[in-house]
């Protein structure tokens, strides 16, 4: 029954406290600046603005 529910969540978006944005599941990642479109299944996106590997987290948030 659940599988037929088309409104079932397709992905899990997790905001890690003082950390990145973790996204897992069925999603398409479009990066407008770097012009890429992928379906990675799991990503960690930078939320602090300081990553050297944007849009992805490189753990720069841990260094002040």
């Amino acid at each position: 029954m659940e599988e037929k529910d088309i409104k079932k969540p397709q992905a899990l978006i997790e905001v890690i406290d003082s950390g990145p944005l973790k996204i897992t599941g069925n999603f398409i990642l479009k990066d407008l600046k770097r012009k890429s479109e992928t379906t990675p299944g799991e990503i960690w996106l930078c939320r602090c603005g300081r990553s050297g590997n944007k849009p992805f987290c490189d753990e720069s948030h841990k260094t002040r």
Partner: protein, 169 residues
């Protein structure tokens, strides 16, 4: 940050052919409008929309990029609004849900869209579970805009601050 507090209302901006409607409360700061057409949509100007800044056709094109109903438009001549196509994101569409039912059903079956905006937030659209600060909620056909610059006053959500601090990334 200078913000318009009267969030419940709707502003209108017209030229001879169309009226653009602006609903501040619906904006997620995806920033397509000013990035694509600063001549018309300039957040640092008051009023921020100048309908003389570009031809009608161009204004429609950019308003249609808005992922929310913050910016919508309609023809001043109501007769023309009857011919609106179902794929048009305009004022009429948001008031006639039957025009988007088809689109919605396909969205529900589709993967979640995660869009990293140029020098802006990450805009997430679709049916997903959102977990933050101990909260966990399931949403369907929804849209959230998550801050990437680290300076929002409404973390984890975008409040438009990236533009003020000159965030790039």
């Amino acid at each position: 940050m200078e913000r318009d507090k009267s969030l419940s209302d709707e502003r209108k901006y017209s030229n001879d052919e169309i009226t653009v409607y602006w609903k501040p409360v619906a904006c997620v700061h995806a920033s397509y409008c000013y990035r694509e057409l600063i001549e018309v949509f300039d957040p640092s100007r008051r009023p921020w929309v100048d309908m003389k800044g570009a031809p009608t056709e161009k204004i429609i094109e950019i308003v249609n990029l808005c992922p929310t109903e913050a910016l919508t438009w309609k023809w001043n001549d109501d007769e023309r609004n009857r011919d609106v196509r179902s794929d048009q994101t305009n004022h009429v569409k948001f008031r006639r849900p039957e025009l988007i039912n088809q689109d919605l059903s396909s969205i529900q079956e589709n993967p979640v869209s995660v869009k990293v905006m140029t020098d802006g937030p990450v805009v997430i659209k679709g049916s997903f579970t959102l977990a933050y600060s101990g909260n966990k909620k399931e949403v369907s056909d929804s849209l959230v805009s998550i801050c990437r610059c680290g300076s929002s006053d409404h973390e984890p959500f975008c409040d438009g601050k990236h533009k003020k601090i000159g965030f790039t990334g």
